[in-house]
Amino acid sequence: MDFHLSPQEEEFRDEVRAFLQENLPGEEERKSADFLAQWTTKVREKRWVGFSWPKDVGGGGGSVMEQVILKEEMARQKAPGLGTCFMGLAWVGPSIIQYGNEEQKQKYIPEILDGAYQWCTGYSEPDSGSDLASLKCKCVREGDEYVINGQKIWTSIAMWSKMMILLVRTETAVEAKHDGITCLLVPMDAEGLEVRPIRNMGGGSMFAEIFFTDVRVPVESRLGDEGQGWQVTVSALANERSSIAEVYGLRRKMEELKELARETVRGGKRAVEIPSIRRRLQRADIRIESMRLNGQRFLTKQLRGEPLGSETSINKLHRAALEVEMGELAMEITGSASTLMRGSADAPENGRWADYALGWPEVVIGGGTPNIQKNIIAERILGLPKD
């Protein structure tokens, strides 16, 4: 066991720290559009956008450990993200790098790295949520074109996206439902494609329903082979392992929550001194620390070249529980004022905690519900019979 960095790793860390020292202004200034534009160019020049991708496609070719160091230093300093094309960087890009042809790589990868526009993800359907592989969105080949008819749902940022990575069913007479699924790269302005935003329980609209009526795309839009869509998707989703970004995000939220508990006075007492609240804050803190260290154990496996399996569900379950718990804690801490939304004079921090307490489903349900994660652990790790 050794948690120290090697001399080369320390050198890289110092390079990152020096860059941040030089290029990261005070917290207020970080929000300005001018700064963000400059930042984006500079980190792109450093090849820190798509840092884990191979150099020949324009990535940084960073080692696993360097990726971790970079993410950790960025998160520690609360630096803005590396790149702006969220889903492109998270899984569309990796899918294209692994399964795309030369033309697709040359066309899409530079635009993802530059953040030229957003990608969205058309996976879930009304009847295919947790059981994603049962998806039905119909796709028939007619000459040089695919014709798509059907519906997708829960498609985040669809209304601001230019492209979509889409899973469709090209074959219905298959033995295993995972077969017969094909992956397509579809422009959002295709004729017959309609986006209807869905209002969530917080009042905002971040995701949408998508309706396909005789949408025609050229066969060149296909990523990977016909019927290979499931593999294309799964291998790309398996990308992020050590959950460092999540841990730092949760930590930051936790610090803000502690601050809220120190500043809120309830019945003549600071909330942080109320034993039940205190314990819950500490318990959440410990869970976050355990996530960080679980991530380090996964990382060690990765560095040793051992396959990483379903154990990553551990941190997904922690995160899901923490997002709910921290929202609830904010409500408990602020008492009657907790129910006041943005715009109320007496809403704590202009209602941001109320928004937070209504926002957890995006994470908790979005990435595979906790019940599904528990099934994964029970069946794939503990070897219990399938449902």
Binding site: M1, D2, F3, H4, L5, E9, M65, V68, K258, V272, R278, R279, L281, Q282, R283, D285, I286, R287, E289, S290, M291, L293, N294, Q296, R297, L299, T300, K301, L303, R304, E311, I314, L317, H318, N371, Q373, K374, N375, I377, A378, E379, I381, L382, G383, L384, P385, K386, D387
Partner: protein, 375 residues
């Protein structure tokens, strides 16, 4: 960055596991813990001969000179099979002597502890059941260069079989006036009373001191504050107990999972039902998580990292809060047979009761985390 064990440590794990599979199956464990002494002395001596007992002691005193992370591997395995042995007690007592004794005292006591011929333990708690300095009431009275001790120490692990007792006492009127004495069972006025322990694999008792005269050569003299010395032993104890808990919890999860794969109700193995598989998955998540915390804590203790004590408290708080519940869930998932003496899951449930307060329960460690700057 490497959060894993060395090849040597993995080899040790295999060796220990093989040794325990052969000598300490759960049937063996049952008969060992139900015996008068509560453990198998022959097995204990074998373990000592293999170097397990003196693992972390210096070679010059009969130890193997290895680090705590290596000891952690051993403890996970003794925990897995619920081995009844005074290993943790002896390690703490011998570490107290190693850290806070002088050369003469080390030479006098450590070889006997390392070779298993003598068993040691730490006698800390009293009627107050308080791990803070204020909880210490046993007052040492000075008589010339001797200290006279009269009083009781409670909840002393392995009191009935220990030969050496590291005893914390009050040496003056100030809160920080704390002394550490090493008492031998043979000394006049030293006796023990066995308690009826809920967890038979972990015997407890009281140490009864009646006008015990302690000479200067029997006192440990830590550099700096004596209470920080005691606190470091509490931290060590909490770490060792949590390491053993990882193994015990994996054992409990393994037998409950095996049961769920066998037992049929409503025409199906019960392990197929989410009402059964989800609590098992939750158990797994908790075990893996306090495992990560305690692994890190052991490394930090070895390295003398600043955050070592904080890391220990996080691990112990998490384990103290969840492992007792894992025992309860384990019994529930077994159904009626889980309630019987015959099935093994009850042994793990009782281990949960034992470990919860041992070297500080969750509340104690939450307060400690706050004190160390965690909130």
């Amino acid at each position: 960055m490497n959060f894993g064990f060395t090849d040597e440590q993995e080899l040790l794990r295999a060796e220990v596991r093989k040794f325990l599979d052969q000598n300490a199956s759960i049937e063996e464990v049952r008969s060992q813990c139900e015996s008068d002494e509560g453990f198998d002395r022959k097995l204990w001596l074998q373990m000592a001969e293999l170097g397990f007992v003196g693992l972390t002691l210096p070679e010059q005193h009969g130890g193997a000179g290895l680090d705590l992370v290596t000891l952690l591997v051993l403890l996970e395995e003794t925990g897995r099979t619920l081995l009844p042995s005074p290993l943790i007690s002896t390690v703490i007592a011998s570490q107290a002597i190693q850290r806070f004794g002088n050369d003469e005292q080390r030479a006098r006591w450590l070889p006997g502890l390392a070779d298993g011929s003598r068993i040691g333990t730490l006698a800390l708690l009293e009627q107050s059941d308080d791990l803070a300095p204020g909880g210490l009431c046993l007052q040492g009275k000075t008589d010339g260069d001797e200290t006279i001790l009269t009083g009781r120490k409670l909840f002393v692990p392995d009191a009935g079989k220990a030969d050496l007792f590291v005893v914390a006492f009050r040496s003056g009127s100030e809160p920080g006036d704390v002394g550490l004495a090493v008492l031998e069972r043979s000394m006049a006025g030293v006796s023990t009373l066995d308690a009826a322990a809920m967890d038979l694999t972990k015997r407890l008792g009281s140490l009864e001191l009646d006008d015990v005269r302690v000479g200067p050569a029997d006192l440990l003299r830590p550099e700096g504050s004596a209470w920080s010395a005691v606190q470091s032993l509490i931290d060590l104890g909490a770490a060792l107990v949590t390491a053993e808990t990882v193994g015990a919890a994996e054992g409990a999860l393994a037998i409950t999972t095996a049961f769920a794969k066998e037992r049929e109700q409503f025409g199906s193995k019960i392990g197929r039902y989410q009402g059964v598989k989800h609590p098992l998955a939750e158990m797994y998540v908790d075990i893996e998580s306090y495992k990560s915390l305690v692994y890190y804590a052991f490394w930090a203790l070895d390295e003398g990292e600043e955050g070592a004590a904080l890391a220990v408290s996080k691990a112990k708080a998490y384990a103290s809060e969840t492992f007792p519940m894992a025992g309860i869930n384990g019994v529930q998932l077994h159904g009626g047979v889980g309630y019987t003496w015959e099935y093994d899951i009850q042994l793990y449930l009782k281990r949960g009761k034992w470990m919860r307060p041992m070297y500080g329960d969750a509340d104690y460690h939450y307060d400690r985390i706050a004190e160390l700057g965690g909130l």
